[in-house]
Subunit: 139 residues, 2 copies
Amino acid sequence: MKLEQIPVVAQYQPAPAAMLSGNARVLLCEIAECLQKLLDCGENTTIDLLAMPLNAVDLDWLRERLGQGEVRITLEADGESTLQETNCQGVWWVQHHNPAGGVMSAFIEITPVPDLVRAHKDDMQSGLERLKWLINDLN
Amino acid sequence: MKLEQIPVVAQYQPAPAAMLSGNARVLLCEIAECLQKLLDCGENTTIDLLAMPLNAVDLDWLRERLGQGEVRITLEADGESTLQETNCQGVWWVQHHNPAGGVMSAFIEITPVPDLVRAHKDDMQSGLERLKWLINDLN
């Protein structure tokens, strides 16, 4: 039999549920508790996904369950950061990449808005200095 | 003389400074005053660009002066909204588009973070309900 005679059929292989460690389910419950805490006390939580005992199938399963919301934030500074709102508002999937595009860190943030997006007072003071410089440059 | 004999030379035409209405310069000063107010009193300002006497050259001039910062936010809901941080932190260029991609509205927002990005309490309550539904669905 020649190589070209062997029939090749591409099949979609769903992630086998058997490979789930069980930790992703536990984490889903923890995210719900954190969101309840945010609603009750205004307390934000950050969960470091790469520091937890989660395998690749767990991460895919979790990401699929949480879904994708309307807001997507990208931040360019020494590699791209993406902050994707999930379909559960108040829960964000945050990833930081190195300049080559590799994932350096991944977090779940439970917050109304990730802190990284907010311009802080020092930043705004620099922004004002820049504006004044632009205005002076016109004269 | 035939049509093909007429020499055609493509030239880059910079936006003529003479077409600037002068209002963009005034607006740049107003933006600086608003940013000072935000730093002093925490007061946010929204400027409706399409409601102001600015022509297309003014808008291009203003956008070029303000520049592009690190953070870009996109929001998908009945057309895309883009919220681009300018190079002057605390100043955002916000545009809402219709589903066909046309610009419906354009604003300068002077704020640490545009309100549209923030998950509000009702949204987070819905997010929590969705999480509880996901968790119940696992059992």
